[in-house]
């Protein structure tokens, strides 16, 4: 057997795809974990757009790149030859979701199948396929190849991780592999860029050919899974001598999946994860807020007071600020998760916690998105993409808003510090701290119980049981990790960001109009209070206050609650506004004013409301984006409001009874 570890070059050969036309669609196909995204990122860099196809929840990434210029004339499409300067030819690369087979079992697999068959509504049928073969598990990839080959699409194949084959003392006979498959084979190391130029050249030179498996007696149209696997196993044995299992992976797993050490390391990693979101994001968020405040002051100083000034400072700038402030958490969380994912630890973590998540009808992979939601539900919901099962992904997204995010903290801190005595139990445990912890615990436990309920009702029996590959550990490709974070941030800004901005302007308008002239000689604070009271927001608050009356909310609290539909922490500033006169006159803090104006049962009732209510338009916007429809955010909003109302009512009544 002629064994070489690397594919060197390809001589010119007649190709099945005649030329790269002006708009060529090439699909990147491969099994999950085969290194497909790394290849995609290496080929396209940041020239990607995340396509938002209606109803598609896992969007295939679309990347375009313009071919390197001065194309040899024979590659030109006939129509372009009339022009003296030919239009640049672009290749549109579609990164289809990884599939194990073409017998689809998940919506992602269905998407891939539809695109390949040319039956997808909005994605064109690809002209050619770049098939990615996982170098460390050739049999698995060839099984899929046996099915793809039947489609008769011109194909080029790339074998990833050839460095790992070599490092493990194995070897790959690429010439034999080419002969067996009938398509060109290029060996690459995606994260190091090895072979990427060769791959790019091959794509430009249209080095695609139709697979030659048609006359293979084992692979008839009706070949069974067993026959396809037997063929794949046979070819894999013929072309590659692979290391048994990666020694590094074996040794690391002995520690990371050890019955005792494993969970300990897991806890440590999660603590680091949690800490990093808070400690690293906080200074950045403070910085963003400070710059926004600075900008607002500039506008307030430079623009004459009036509607224009108010619109700019309280509508536009505040709105932009409320969008940007999420970025640090989104970026940090995404970086951390994609690092762990690329390294291979995320699957291991899922393996370790699967039993516990299983109690609540979820799978191990839901853990990290839910943990992330304690910082902020937005990156948490976005990271739910790491959950392959649709049922678990949707359930996780639906309960993510119940994990206590950091935006609730200002509300909790204000009310707890005003109403819970700052005493210590046994001289050590702060009662205020205990109450805060209780709020976190109640929310998390309720969320998990609701997950159980949803899993056994709506999503009942709709998906496959837990089944996951543990890929070998790999050194994370930094480029990949950065591109993922960049794409997440961009997706948030373009889709959720615009919604948030629009809603904050609407909220501003509701607070600003109709305009009221404050009584002669009133201070700025009094003017603010009068304005808010007579604004549309104030009116709405007063009108719907009877709805909240059973919870003990007066119109002022109701306005605060309404205001926080933009974002929870707005409650604090709205309370500051509605009580601004009291604060100004009594020369007290807002906390002291609240202590006088609100009774303990009402304060507890407000706390209970904030534990559950999905008062965050950003979460709603991102939920719509990630689930592909308004159905899920509408449902999440409805169920959390019901819970909030019920919990609030119960807490209010019980505490009234206890106090009284």
């Amino acid at each position: 057997m002629n064994i070489t570890a690397f594919v060197e070059l390809h001589c010119f050969r007649p190709t099945a795809l005649k030329s790269v036309q002006r708009q060529t669609h090439i699909a990147l196909v491969g099994s999950p974990n085969c290194g497909k995204s790394t290849v995609f990122n290496a080929l396209t860099g940041l020239r990607q757009k995340i396509a938002n196809f209606p109803g598609v929840t896992v969007e295939p990434a679309i990347g375009t790149y313009t071919l390197s210029d001065e194309p040899a004339s024979e590659f030109l499409h006939p129509t372009s030859s009339t022009s003296s300067t030919p239009a640049p030819r672009t290749v549109t690369l579609i990164d289809l979701p990884g599939v194990y087979s073409l017998l689809p079992k998940t919506p992602d697999e269905e998407l891939t199948l539809n695109v390949l068959n040319g039956t997808h509504a909005s994605i064109p049928k690809p002209d050619a396929v770049v098939f990615v073969i996982e170098g460390t598990n050739i049999e698995k990839s060839l099984f899929l190849f046996a099915q793809i080959a039947r489609l008769g699409v011109p194909t080029l194949s790339a074998v990833t991780m050839i460095d790992a084959i070599k490092a493990g003392g194995g070897a790959l006979d690429d010439i034999e592999l080419e002969r067996q498959l009938g398509v060109p084979v290029i060996g690459i190391v995606g994260h190091k860029g090895v072979g990427i130029d060769l791959l790019r050249e091959a794509i430009e030179a249209c080095d695609f050919r139709e697979p030659l498996l048609a006359d293979n007696e084992m692979l008839t149209q009706h070949a069974t899974i067993e026959e396809q696997h037997t063929w794949a196993r046979e070819v894999a044995r013929l072309v590659a001598r692979l290391p048994e299992t990666d020694a590094f992976t074996r040794r690391l797993d002995a520690v990371l999946l050890h019955p005792v050490a494993g969970p300990l390391v897991f806890l440590l990693v999660m603590m680091l994860f949690f800490q990093s979101i808070f400690t690293w994001a906080t200074p950045l968020m403070d910085g963003i807020e400070a710059s926004i405040d600075g900008l607002r002051e500039l506008v307030e100083a430079g623009v004459p007071a009036g509607v224009v000034q108010s619109f700019l400072s309280k509508g536009v700038i505040a709105g932009v600020g409320s969008v940007l402030v999420f970025l640090p958490q989104i970026v940090i969380l995404t970086l951390f998760i994609s690092l762990l994912e690329d390294f291979g630890y995320l699957s291991r973590a899922a393996f370790l916690v699967d039993r516990i998540m299983g109690v609540f009808g979820l799978q191990g992979r839901s853990f990290v998105p839910l943990l992330g939601s304690f910082a902020c539900a937005i990156p948490g919901i976005m990271s739910a993409r790491i959950i392959p099962s649709r049922k678990d992904r949707m359930t996780t997204i639906l309960i993510a808003p119940l994990m206590t995010c950091s935006a609730r903290l200002p509300v909790y801190v204000l009310l707890i510090s005003a109403f819970v005595p700052a005493t210590f139990v046994g001289g050590v445990l702060s009662v205020q701290g205990l109450v805060l912890m209780g709020l976190y615990a109640v929310a998390a436990i309720s969320g998990l119980m609701i997950a159980k309920l949803f899993g056994s009702t709506f999503f009942k029996g709709s998906t496959l049981p837990f089944l996951m590959e543990l890929p070998p550990y790999r050194f994370p490709a930094w480029r990949n990790v950065w591109i993922t974070a960049y794409n997440r941030a961009r997706a948030f800004l373009t889709s959720a960001g615009t919604t948030i901005l629009l809603l904050s302007m609407i909220l501003w308008a509701l607070g600003e109009f109709p305009h009221t002239t404050p009584p002669e000689g009133s201070s700025t604070l009094q003017a603010q209070q009068v304005q808010l009271e007579h604004s549309a927001l104030g009116m709405i608050g007063k009108t719907i206050q009877p709805v909240f009356a059973p919870l003990g909310f007066d119109w002022k609290v109701t306005v605060g609650v309404l205001g926080s539909f933009a974002a929870r922490e707005v409650f604090v500033s709205v309370m500051g506004q509605v009580y601004s006169t009291d604060v100004a006159e009594s020369n007290e803090t807002l906390r002291a004013v609240l202590q006088r104006s609100i009774s303990l049962p009402v304060a507890l009732s407000i706390l209970a409301f904030y534990v559950y209510a999905l008062q965050c338009m950003s979460t709603i916007a991102i939920m719509k984006r990630e689930t592909g429809s308004w159905k899920y955010p509408a449902f999440a909003f409805a169920y959390t409001m019901l819970l909030a109302y019920g919990a609030s009512l119960a807490v209010y009544r019980v505490s009234l009874w206890m106090v009284g």
Binding site: T136, K140, H229, T230, G262
Partner: protein, 72 residues
Amino acid sequence: MNEIPVGGAVRIIEYTAHNEFTERLREFGLIVGTEVKLLRRAPLNGPIEIQFGHSQIVVRPDELAHINVQPL
């Protein structure tokens, strides 16, 4: 299948049920005749990690009740 000790190896001899899940297992490469090794069990009686060929997968033990195996 769910009674193999950690470190034990078996050969798949038959599937006693046929559904989407068993089809997926076969697509992964767990076809009749395949040798499978149980690498470890997750804490608290959680999922198990099995190895066959160059694949390592984790699955909840109860889900494998429909596979008959023969110890090696």
